[in-house]
């Protein structure tokens, strides 16, 4: 039983990070119907900002977190304005290819600065508590609670503020809402800022939990989070969170009860089956395409 609970904790930690990244994919998709494939690399930049401010400026946890979030938010807004906005009327494939290009640019830009893996020094006191065989580390607590807090803030913004209402409206109907006087460009920028900021926060937490970071760290994690978003129903915020936790739990539990070599294979087979049963994801609703 303790073994199961311990693995459950591991799953919560991994799932929280997937969920935070998946939110970025889903928010951008919800509002622009575009998949921001550079999002995994935004996540990587978040981890690198954390590395820079902690190593060279010696900042403690909270300011480092704030700087990572702000830095990646800005990056998201700049990328949207410079690379995606000019293509908003272009075929959707062009925007996706641009996103892939931005991702490769970010990876290689970071790589060009230095090819060596970087180590983020421990910024919070690492203590572990043991309760009858169950070990909980301070880091686990911080990651899980902070992720939940960020998700709650996001929920509040989307459901209870004017900006959130505008976001929901644009995702509902892109053509009519601008006619109502909603400043579409600003709302899109804010969406990018929030989505990327969550990615940055995830990057920083990932960097703390797995403190060796390299420019390619965002690729696989980004794909997995994207899959989590699709499984949850892309475009749906609650879906992304559920998808993230499901993916984290499947990965950990498969490795825990089967030979660990089968982890990705089994985890992704399960997700494929889930998608066959519910093609729009768990929370997604089918949208009829008008011809």
């Amino acid at each position: 039983m303790t073994y199961f609970l311990q693995q459950g904790l591991n799953a919560l930690q991994l799932g929280s990070i997937y969920a935070l990244i998946a939110l970025g994919y889903t928010m951008v998709y919800g509002i622009l119907s575009m998949i921001n494939f550079a999002h995994g690399d935004f996540f990587m930049v978040g981890a690198f900002i954390c590395f820079v401010v902690v190593t060279f400026m010696g900042l403690p946890f909270v300011p480092a977190m704030i700087l990572s979030i702000i830095g990646v938010s800005l990056l998201g807004v700049i990328v949207e304005r410079a690379a995606y906005k000019p293509l908003r009327q272009a075929p959707r494939v062009s925007a996706i290819i641009t996103a892939l290009g931005v991702g490769i640019f970010l990876e290689n830009f970071t790589l060009a600065l230095s090819p060596y893996p970087k180590h983020i020094p421990a910024i919070i006191e690492n203590t572990s508590w043991t309760f009858g065989g169950l070990t909980i580390s301070s880091l686990q607590v911080i990651i899980i609670l902070l992720s939940l807090a960020l998700m709650t803030v996001l929920h509040f913004i989307v459901q209870h503020t004017r900006v959130g209402m505008a976001m929901r409206a644009i995702s509902w109907d892109k053509n009519v809402v601008p006619l109502m006087g909603v400043p579409v460009n600003n709302v899109i920028s804010i969406t990018f800022a929030i989505g990327s900021g969550l990615g940055g926060a995830a990057g920083m937490m990932y960097g703390m939990a797995y403190p060796i970071i390299d420019p390619y760290m965002g690729i696989i994690v980004g794909w997995k989070a994207f899959i989590a978003a699709v499984v949850g129903g892309i475009g749906n915020i609650r879906g992304a969170v559920i998808g993230g936790y499901i993916l984290g739990a499947t990965e950990i539990m498969v490795a825990a009860f089967f030979p660990s070599t089968y982890r990705d294979f089994t985890a992704f087979s399960l997700l494929l089956i889930l998608l066959i049963v519910r093609p729009y994801g768990i929370m997604g609703k089918p949208r009829p395409q008008k011809v």
Partner: protein, 389 residues
């Protein structure tokens, strides 16, 4: 207008092509180096390149290599394998066909060295890998007979696996061991299996044999499983960029048993990345920088002088020895062609290098040599024991 533009572009391209073809010094010996300069293990690539450049400079400063009564200088062609098997193979192809090298040193990791060795073997060019320890590097994939043109400066994994397993039983007094290894990499997989085999033969028990794939960062599921199996020691035959993550996550899960490793731990970056978490753990490797023999002292002095005080790691020492071996083969060949170099290389019976005495048996590219066990103490690799073959 268009025509002018077209002509200009064409002229530029032609110019670039001609520049690329520019013949360099014809009387020089052309040696290729394939190294992991970027990718997962750049510290390995950098050490290899540093030692190679130093070895070439030493040879050239001494006037070159005497072949059949004439002195030849050495010219080095460096290619990056980016730590990718396919790129290592194409680098070997490029060095052989375009750069027309007489022999190749590198790549270092086994997953890179195996494909590169296939190319070198089929093109009949000598390839000496400094650091690859997987037996497959020098063996034919189909017949398991030794390859004719492939040599190495390192010992092989069956020996290393034996050394570590013996150390775990005799020194750590472990009866139950756990292994966590990268199943997607030839090196890690090979040595994990040899360790398991020896440990079980000696009466020990492997209570957990867990794997992951390259680039994984989360090992919590596997480590929780290992913790549940309650081993006396955990063997991590993985590269220095992953071991710190594994050790730190294990500590966070409350695992307190000692960890042991293999020669992939031996990079100075390991200490930088792992910090206090790896303090006191042991690993097997090729040489100790504390060794007091005159050859080692001279090498370390020269390396420190050339690279602002950096202590050469095992990759640097092995690369230096690979050049030493090749130099001896070239001098013994008498002629400057690929086949003569291979024949001379195969005839070297033993070589006294920085990493100790190597003995080559006729028909095999694997040296017989000893290993050392080092301990990590106060952020330094400290000699602990020697292990004879």
């Amino acid at each position: 207008m268009k025509k002018v533009l077209f002509l200009t572009v064409a002229a530029c391209i032609a110019g670039l092509v001609l520049l690329g073809c520019q013949k360099s010094d014809d009387s020089a010996i052309r040696i290729g180096l394939i190294s992991e300069l970027t990718g997962d293990i750049p510290a390995v690539g950098a050490s290899c390149k540093n030692a190679a450049e130093m070895a070439v400079k030493e040879i050239n400063d001494a006037g070159g290599i005497d072949i059949g009564g004439k002195k030849y200088k050495v010219e080095l062609f460096i290619e990056d394998s980016a730590s990718k098997p396919d790129q290592a193979a194409s680098a070997a192809q490029k060095l052989i066909t375009q750069k027309n090298v007489i022999a190749i040193i590198g790549p270092n990791s086994s997953s890179n060295a195996i494909p590169a060795s296939e190319i070198a073997e089929s093109s009949k060019v000598v390839l000496i890998t400094p650091w690859s320890t997987n037996p497959k590097t020098t063996l034919d994939a189909k017949t398991s007979a030794p390859k004719k043109y492939i040599f190495r400066a390192a010992f092989i994994d069956p020996f290393q696996g034996r050394v570590v397993a013996k150390f775990a039983m005799d020194n750590i007094k472990a009866k139950k061991a756990a292994v966590l290894y990268d199943v997607a990499s030839d090196y890690n997989k090979g040595i994990a299996e040899f360790f398991k085999q020896t440990f079980e033969e000696k009466g020990g028990k492997i209570v957990a044999f867990e794997s992951y794939t390259t680039n994984d960062k989360d090992f919590s599921a596997q480590l929780t499983k290992i913790k549940n199996a309650a081993p006396d020691v955990i063997f991590l035959p993985n590269y220095y960029n992953e071991v710190p993550l594994q050790v730190q996550q294990a500590h966070r899960l409350g695992i307190k048993v000692p960890f042991i490793g293999s020669d992939s731990w031996g990079s100075q970056d390991m200490i930088k990345l792992c910090g206090k978490d790896c303090e006191g753990y042991y690993f097997s490797t090729h040489y100790s920088a504390e060794s007091a023999t005159p050859v080692v002292k001279k090498f370390i002095e020269a390396y420190k002088k050339a690279y602002d005080g950096k202590v050469p790691d095992d990759v640097a020492a092995l690369t230096y020895d690979s050049f030493g071996l090749l130099k001896q083969a070239l001098a013994g060949a008498g002629k400057l062609d690929r086949q003569s170099v291979r024949d001379a290389m195969a005839k070297i019976p033993n070589y006294d290098g920085v990493t100790g005495k190597m003995q080559f048996k006729e028909g095999s590219g694997d040296p017989i040599k000893s290993a050392v066990i080092l301990q990590i103490q106060d952020g330094k690799f400290v000699w602990f024991a020697d292990a004879q073959p």
